[in-house]
């Protein structure tokens, strides 16, 4: 029993010494590894959730911005303004509908309707015709946009009939005076959210994806759903809503019209996790329904719409390395335990055997067997009882032998240990190291190691690492789990975990340092890999932020370049981001220099003897894809702005054409727009002289030409005019590429673009732009250039039409006036008495009328009236008109009808109606005694009063068959006698002034 007990104790002690430190180290390693992977996974999930949240925010924000720009298009305000009075024509309706359809084109897959709502909420124009006429005034997107004046996006709403989920974007529309006239509303299918989410699938590694959950716990998107699934798989809630809450949400269109059973997902762990979410602790774990898979997740918030973005991954996926590693560790421990156990059994037996023999001998001696001798003794054991010294000496000698053997055994443990064991002086001198230690450092034996390394400091990778450790030992006497990097003989680094203590003598002076070392390099490599993954995620996150915040491609590329300039994971690759729009081809000579281009954007040079690793390739593809997506976004926004700006430009030109007949003004508006949108150094409009086919008119804006170069450059305009075809020379130094066979023009012009202004099939002129540098236009640029030329053609055509009309009017007027003169002459031929009368009175009447203050327009009518004053006499029979003597009373009655004849004849001629006052009323008298109507004073039209004086004056001083002409002074005297009787007293002095002045 005693022998057995001693053996057991030795065995237990040995196992404890060897295995307990091993178990502690293994456990600590397991815990640290698990914790490290879990933290890395949560951080990756959080970063992925943020990425998806940013994507959702970016979608929302960019649509709000675009909508804000779209409502600035004047045509919308004009349409809604006119719609208040139902004044829109069919053409206006078509044009505005085309505009809405163009807005829909920005996302034709998901935008289902684009509409204009009046201030009453009535849908008056919609790309989805079935919606026209419906009342949308009760919807949030209508009244919030109207009340705030800001672009608005609704939560997901469901249609009553089909449970169709939609997002509504809306913005207030104003008229040209800035007054609200309605709302522009765009309807997105809510399936766009699913599409945003699937783009980020696997962002945090295998099996990871995102869920989007709104404030009611309704699942709006699920990144694990395959393409093509119906919406029925979504729009269920993880929150345990009461039937009353569900009914209320359904009334507000916030939940689909389904039964409670169909709406509730019953994921209590997810619900609980979501309700406890906080910014400080955005992590949760849960089982999905009744599934046995435990998910780890992290959440972030899409700020604009307030949705939770949950990024999740099965825990078993990211903890898989722990399982693999734990299995390996367990097998190692089992082998070590087995080995140590066998050694311990053997050693304990070997140690116990002599003592057992002595004990047996002692027992036997104690039992009275005096001949008993312990074999180790070699002599009889009687001394145990009686012979003290010799026996004691023998027993001491025997004990010493046992101690020596024991020391050898412990040496064996020291030699066999899998942990490195060493003892050094404080100054670094090696006292001893075990084989494991030598093996760690790449030596074949401790002897070789100590012969090679004179000092323990040489073991450490970093200078001073040992001194730091020794200082700690000096301070506290021992160190536990001290991690440091040693360097192998071949120079490779080696992570070690050290437990050591310092031995002091009785004077408390340090004697030596001894310690255990364990290789933890594998664990460190795993930690490094996890850190690299984190760095990649931070990098992608930074680029995503840059993409969201940048407003120009240049800014984005500069920011991206700055971010990429110091990425450890991409070393030693050299990265170049191509400037926007200059995707240069890979030169053939670079084929050997290991150039790779990602997404036609990111050029990556791998130095010789290196390759792009699959991880780097994947990262570069992701980075370039992310930058490319951001560039597309910026280009889209810029294009939308340019589109709106150019629509405005064309609208301004339309306005100028419609509101002004001044061609120069209109063409200047076109030049203004050309300078602003085509960005040339100079823009010209050259118009042809219609009669001679030559350049007749030219205006321009921008930098002037040298006079000496003007004629040279005119060749370009003439070529466009003569050939009636566009001439586009992107680089005048190589004009043969563009079909230009002349010598390059002198001066500063390096690029020329001229388009013929063609109206009704004929070239009317040229719109041309000049550039100081070679310039290659885009299709968009060309389209706008063609639009400007089209507008110029309309303006020129309008002006030509107007001029032609004016010319023909003037021709007509001249023809009429010639006719009037003909009528007057015909009358005078009939009435020989008044020959030359009309011609004379016309001149004098015009002078008097001008003196009386009549306008030039009125003078035209005065002249016509004066010419035709006696036209009514055509209705008087010749026997009366040409009667030499006095007229009888009946004949006078007939004669006095000639003003009435004139009235009846001329009144139907609208053109002569304004001149009718003179023929009809020139025989009326101031005192009311005239004919045909007996008007008095100012009842008599002013023109007639003026003419009456001149008519009488000419009759008095002219020769007639019934009297001899008066002398002028007699005639003046007579006129004065008739002032206030026959004539207007205020006009007579004016005539006398004119007569005093004489003829003009």
């Amino acid at each position: 029993m005693r022998t057995s007990s001693l053996w057991t104790r030795i065995l237990v002690a040995f196992l404890a010494i060897a295995l307990i430190p091993l178990a502690i180290v293994a456990y600590q390693d397991y815990e640290a590894f698990t914790q490290s992977l879990t933290q890395a996974a949560y951080l990756a999930l959080y970063t992925s959730a943020s990425q998806t949240a940013l994507r959702v925010d970016e979608f929302t924000r960019s649509n709000l911005n675009v909508l804000g720009a779209e409502v600035q298009v004047p045509a919308l305000g004009d349409y809604l303004q006119a719609e208040r009075f139902r004044q829109n024509t069919l053409d206006q309706k078509r044009a505005t509908l085309s505009l809405l359809a163009a807005f829909q084109q920005k996302n034709v897959v998901f935008i289902s309707s684009c509409a204009l709502l009046t201030l009453d909420g009535e849908n008056v124009l919609d790309t989805q015709p079935a919606n026209i006429g419906q009342d949308e005034s009760a919807r949030d997107y209508f009244h919030v946009a109207l009340e705030t004046g800001l672009p608005y996006v609704s939560p997901v709403e469901f249609s009553a009939q089909e449970n169709k989920a939609s997002l509504f974007f809306s913005s207030l529309v104003r008229n040209s005076a800035g007054a609200p006239v309605g709302v522009l509303r765009e309807q997105y299918s809510a399936s766009i959210i699913q599409q945003l989410v699937v783009q980020d699938t696997r962002l945090a590694g295998s099996d990871s994806y995102a869920l989007i959950v709104d404030q009611n716990g309704m699942v709006l998107a699920d990144g694990s759903l395959p393409a093509g699934v119906a919406a029925d798989s979504l729009y269920r809630t993880v929150f345990s809503l009461t039937p009353a809450q569900i009914a209320e949400q359904q009334r507000q269109h916030r939940l689909p019209m389904r039964s409670v059973t169909e709406l509730l997902l019953r994921f209590p762990e997810l619900e609980s996790g979501l309700r406890k979410l906080s910014t400080a602790e955005p992590y949760l774990t849960f089982h999905m329904g009744g599934s046995s898979v435990l998910y780890a997740a992290s959440a972030d918030r899409a700020e604009i719409l307030g949705w939770n973005v949950i990024y999740l991954q099965p825990q078993e996926v990211f903890l898989a390395p722990v399982r693999q590693r734990s299995g390996g560790t367990l097998i190692s421990i089992l082998f070590i335990t087995l080995f140590v156990g066998l050694v311990a059994v053997w050693v304990s037996r070997w140690l116990a055997a002599p003592i057992q023999q002595v004990t047996h001998a002692a027992i036997r001696l104690g039992d009275g067997n005096l001949n008993t001798r312990a074999p180790v003794q070699g002599n009889g054991e009687i001394g145990l009882l009686g012979k003290a010294f010799n026996d004691m000496a023998d027993r001491l000698q025997e004990t010493l032998v046992g101690l020596r053997e024991s020391e050898a055994n412990y040496r064996n443990i020291f030699e066999s240990s899998v942990a490195g064991i060493y003892r050094t002086g404080v100054d670094g001198r090696f006292f001893t190291v075990n084989p494991a230690m030598a093996h760690f450092l790449g030596f074949t034996s401790p002897h070789e190691m100590m012969a090679t390394l004179q000092n323990a400091r040489q073991m450490y990778l970093h200078e001073g690492a040992r001194d730091e450790m020794v200082a700690e030992l000096m301070r506290v006497g021992r160190i536990v789990n001290w991690e440091t990097i040693l360097v192998r003989r071949d120079g490779t680094p080696l992570w070690m975990l050290i437990n050591a203590r310092m031995e002091r003598n009785e004077r408390n002076q340090p004697v030596w340092i001894e310690g255990f070392m364990t290789d933890i390099t594998d664990r460190k490599i795993a930690e490094d890999q996890a850190r690299h993954q984190l760095e990649e995620l931070f990098l992608l996150h930074a680029i995503a932020i840059a993409g969201n915040e940048s407003t120009t491609e240049r800014e984005l590329l500069e920011r991206a370049a700055a971010i990429l300039s110091n990425v450890e994971a991409l070393e030693p690759l050299e990265l170049h981001l191509l400037p926007a729009g200059t995707g240069r081809l890979i030169p053939i000579e670079d084929r050997q220099s290991r150039l790779t281009v990602f997404n036609a954007l990111l050029r990556v040079y791998a130095p010789p003897e290196t390759v792009i690793t699959p991880e780097q390739h994947r990262l570069l593809e992701t980075i370039s894809g992310q930058i490319s997506t951001a560039i597309d976004k910026i280009r889209f926004i810029e294009q939308a702005h340019r589109h709106v700006s150019r629509l405005n430009a064309l609208h301004m030109i339309d306005t100028a054409i419609n509101t002004s007949l001044d061609l120069t003004l209109t063409l200047n508006v076109i030049l203004d727009q050309a300078m602003e949108h085509l960005r040339p150094d100079r823009a010209n409009i050259v118009l042809m002289n219609g009669d001679f086919g030559q350049v007749g008119y030219s205006i321009g804006q921008g930098e002037e030409f040298d006079e000496a170069d003007t004629a040279d450059l005119t060749r370009l305009s003439n070529r466009v005019l003569t050939r009636q075809k566009p001439l586009m020379i992107a680089d005048l130094n190589t004009p043969e590429q563009f079909g230009w066979d002349g010598a390059p023009p002198a001066g500063w012009v390096q690029a020329y673009f001229g388009l013929p202004i063609i109206a009704k099939g004929l070239a009317q002129g040229v719109l041309e732009v000049y550039y100081r540098q070679p310039f290659t236009p885009s299709t968009e640029w060309l389209n706008f250039f063609w639009s400007l030329v089209g507008q110029a053609a309309i303006a020129v055509d309008n002006t030509n039409l107007f001029n032609a009309l004016q010319e023909s009017n003037q021709e007509l007027v001249r023809a009429y006036d010639a006719t009037l003169v003909g009528w007057a002459n015909a009358l005078e031929l009939r009435d020989q008495e008044t020959q030359g009368h009309s011609r004379r009175v016309v001149g004098l009447t015009l002078r008097l009328a001008r003196r009386a203050g009549l306008s030039e327009t009125e003078l035209v009518q005065v002249r016509r009236g004066a010419l035709l004053h006696d036209i009514g006499k055509i209705g008087i029979p010749d026997k009366i008109l040409q009667k030499p003597g006095k007229l009888s009373e009946e004949e006078w009655v007939m004669m006095r009808k000639h003003p009435i004849f004139a009235y009846d004849w001329l009144y139907p001629i609208a053109y002569l109606r304004p001149a009718l006052d003179i023929p009809y009323s020139h025989h009326e008298k101031w005192d009311g005694s005239g004919y045909p109507r007996g008007l008095a004073g100012e009842q008599i039209p002013l023109m007639a009063r003026i003419f009456a004086i001149v008519d009488v004056w000419d009759a008095l001083i002219s020769e007639r068959c019934y009297h001899t002409p008066m002398r002028p002074e007699e005639a003046r005297a007579y006129l004065l006698t008739q002032s206030g009787i026959h004539f207007d007293p205020s006009l007579l002095p004016l005539l006398l002034e004119i007569l005093d002045e004489g003829e003009e």
């Binding site: 998901f110 783009q199 699938t201 759903l225 563009f738």
Partner: protein, 506 residues
């Protein structure tokens, strides 16, 4: 019938092959010289000496100096033709525009090294993304500017530009400009008919031929005991089995279903035709509402369930990248991507991919029952041709260049330098240089037997409609996008696509 030039070419190929053996120590120098004598090359032949001497002695020798698999097999007649005919055009500059593809880059490199020095004709070769090529050609033809002499025209644009190019039919009869041993009949007839012709008129010379084949993971198939599917039901079943066993780390399949993108229409066309459907009927009316089209759409939805949820974000490049990353077990798409699967710099499945003919169609509507030159076949093709601009002022010089660029020697070398893209001539597929690449290596040609079979027996061609580009994207793809995002049913999708097609043909 073997032409003299063909014999000459075969001899040189034999010499070229022997030179390689000599270089690698597999043939003695004496044996090599004996073979040369049999082939009619004297020991002083520049061609022969070029392989043995490090320093070339003339420009012609320089072109032949390399003994790599991509070295020229151009004949003396061809060299003399280029040199002599080039005198008449020396100093001219030809303006060429093509898509920026690896074989185009390779051909441009060969042109710079060979065609330009021999003929003296300068080449200004613009290589752009496909959509920019379309924009530039549209602008040039709209203005009748003739700024480009040679256009790269995708087969889907053939109707649109049919009036803007010179038909090569007459040029081929032009004896003074006939490139020696050009052998127009060596160009695969199906490409001449479906890629480079419109309403029976030849518009240009076929230039490249991306085409759908089936590609799968042979290791996964072996592990799961699967055989290459022979029909559509088997194909869907194989996808489901892989998805069940490997998902979600590896999906059953992958596709180019990026929303509102031309790639989505390409993918759909393959399923439409393989279900016996077509875009148009013989009466030129849309056939997209019939039972076959509906069955094709339903089949696509079934396939969607064995693919990554992110499939609606993938175009043809991302589709290939996903397969290269080991994320799918089998798919049907452009064979042009197959060579990259064996490139360890970008692929995780080097040596694991295998090509196979697409499954048999469920039914196949004959081309005579379709409209607008549409020719159904499960292997959708995206070929292109080189057309000479009707507005070019250098038509003869352009014709010389087009013949050179599409000659058997240049197309074989462009295929290899371009990383294993499918060539257009039948002889290319048996060219020793091409066969030497039929192994696991970047730019492999080990899928070429499947590609040739697809071109000759399974090729599907879209309708040649003037407005096809718009209809394909803004009509077909847009409606498919709505289907794949759950916005409308299969029946609604079919009706909407038919409505767009009707509008486009009105």
């Amino acid at each position: 019938m073997v032409y003299q030039n063909d014999l000459d070419r075969q001899k040189k190929l034999a010499i070229h092959s022997a030179a390689g053996a000599l270089q690698h120590g597999n043939m003695s120098r004496r044996e090599f010289l004996r073979l040369c004598a049999l082939a009619g090359f004297s020991a002083a032949s520049p061609f022969f000496l070029g392989g043995c001497q490090p320093a070339p002695t003339s420009d012609a020798d320089k072109l032949r100096a390399s003994m790599s698999p991509t070295s020229t097999s151009e004949t003396n007649d061809q060299y003399a033709f280029l040199r002599d005919v080039g005198r008449g055009f020396r100093g001219m500059t030809l303006h060429i525009i093509t898509e920026d593809t690896p074989p185009s880059r390779a051909t441009r490199e060969l042109a710079a090294q060979e065609f330009v020095p021999i003929t003296g004709i300068q080449i200004d070769w613009e290589q752009l993304p496909l959509y920019r090529v379309l924009a530039k050609i549209s602008a040039d033809t709209a203005l009748h500017a003739g700024n480009q002499d040679v256009y790269y025209i995708d087969q889907s644009w053939a109707a649109r530009f049919s009036e803007d190019t010179i038909s090569p039919t007459e040029l081929l009869l032009h004896a003074d400009l006939a490139y020696p041993d050009y052998r127009f009949d060596d160009i695969l007839p199906s490409l001449v008919q479906h890629v480079a012709s419109y309403k029976g008129q030849l518009l240009g010379i076929p230039y490249d031929i991306p085409i759908f084949i089936m590609m799968y993971r042979q290791d996964v198939f072996k592990e799961l005991g699967l055989a290459a599917p022979a029909n559509l039901a088997e194909y869907l079943n194989v996808c489901r089995v892989i998805n069940q066993a490997k998902g979600p780390r590896m999906y059953g399949s992958v596709a180019q279903w990026q929303l509102n993108h031309y790639s989505l229409e390409c993918s759909f066309s393959s399923w439409l035709w393989s279900h016996g459907g077509s875009y148009f009927g013989a009466d030129q009316q849309p056939a997209l509402e019939d039972d076959q089209a509906v069955a094709a759409l339903e089949y696509m939805l079934q396939l969607g369930k064995v693919m990554s949820p992110a499939v609606t974000t993938m175009d043809w490049d991302m589709e290939a990248a996903a397969f290269r990353a080991g994320q799918a077990g089998v798919y049907i798409s452009w064979g042009e991507n197959f060579p990259s699967f064996d490139d360890p710099a970008v692929s995780r499945i080097v040596g694991l991919a295998q090509a196979a003919p697409c499954p048999h169609e469920l039914a196949l509507r004959p081309a005579s029952a379709c409209g607008f030159d549409e020719a159904p076949g499960i292997s959708h093709q995206g070929g292109s041709y080189l057309g000479i601009s009707r507005y070019s002022k250098q038509i003869n010089a352009a014709w010389v260049f087009v013949q050179w660029a599409t000659s058997a020697d240049v197309t074989a070398r462009a295929c290899l330098l371009g990383g294993g893209s499918s060539p257009i001539r039948k002889s290319n597929y048996s060219d020793p240089r091409v066969l030497a690449q039929s192994r696991v290596t970047p730019g492999t040609t080990r899928h070429f037997d499947v590609t040739l079979d697809a071109i000759q027996n399974k090729m599907g061609t879209e309708p040649h409609l003037p407005d096809w580009s718009n209809l394909a994207v803004q009509g077909i793809s847009m409606e498919l996008s709505k289907l794949l995002t759950g916005q409308q049913t299969v029946r609604q999708t079919a009706q909407q696509m038919a409505a767009h097609a009707r509008e486009a043909t009105r």
